[in-house]
Amino acid sequence: MKNLTTIERKSEREIVVTRTFNGPARIVFEAWTKPELFRQWWVPKSVGMSLLSCEMDVRVGGRYRLEFAHGDSQMAFFGTYKEVTPHSRLVWTNDESDGGAVSTVTFEERGGKTLLVYHELYPSKEALDANAGMENAMAETFAQLDELLVILGASVGRS
């Protein structure tokens, strides 16, 4: 059976995602730190993006760089690993924008399963609002609704 993914907005600047995996921490950690494995899951098909390249130098001070294509546009995400504790903890920065978060992922093994906790800490509430989601994509439907309201507002104003 599929495990649940939970999300919690811990504070104005923090967001936490948890999920349990049916495998030892060693394996989940490996899937998170080997580029050839990481690229198999980081960009799910439903997102509508493709991963062009993925470089990861997983050690303290090492850098990573992910390049994506979304339609005709391309973008890159990059940063530095701050902590690397095999099979239990990774911390890295997200340096592609000023308001980038510090991401921490912990792997806790319990009876052959692994509880994964992914945590993002943003420099400010505004940065979280602007940056999180699909790496910077806000709720599109509501953006569209806002746009519609503006258009409607303009037409009401004229009539």
């Binding site: 049916n22 709720a139 507002g153």
Partner: protein
């Protein structure tokens, strides 16, 4: 939750499909108003205006509060609504990611089993 968000979104569009309701939203964007004020402004009966406000309220675009005998209308808690949708999108992204990670973990486990067997043989 996904369905909830979609339903809410559809309700918003339905609410916006009417010229009077769009006018009411625009009016409330300037200043809060009672149902009586709105009915007068849009030259409608109280009952008619109550219906329009009810549709906007169900869509979350307007909230009303009764103080004494006057029901005051104001623009709805859009921020909260946006946040709920935002969080849900974020959850969907991670859920899809982690479903894919499940597959990778399963494959690695299988591979280890095979390697383990080969080593023992």
């Amino acid at each position: 939750m996904v369905q909830y968000t979609q339903t809410r979104f559809d309700a918003s569009f339905a609410a916006l499909s009417d010229a009077t309701r769009r006018g009411v939203l625009e009016q409330l964007g300037r200043v809060d108003a009672s149902i009586t004020d709105l009915a007068e402004k849009f030259r409608m009966t109280l009952t008619g205006m109550k219906k329009h406000v009810g549709v906007l309220e169900r869509a979350g675009l307007v909230t009303t509060e009764k103080v004494g005998r006057v029901r005051t209308c104001k623009l709805g808690p859009r921020r909260l609504e946006e946040e709920a949708a935002w969080i849900e999108r974020y959850r969907q992204l991670w859920d899809a990611r982690f479903d894919a990670l499940d597959t990778v973990v399963e494959e690695l486990k299988q591979k280890e089993k095979v390697v383990g067997r080969n080593k023992r043989e």
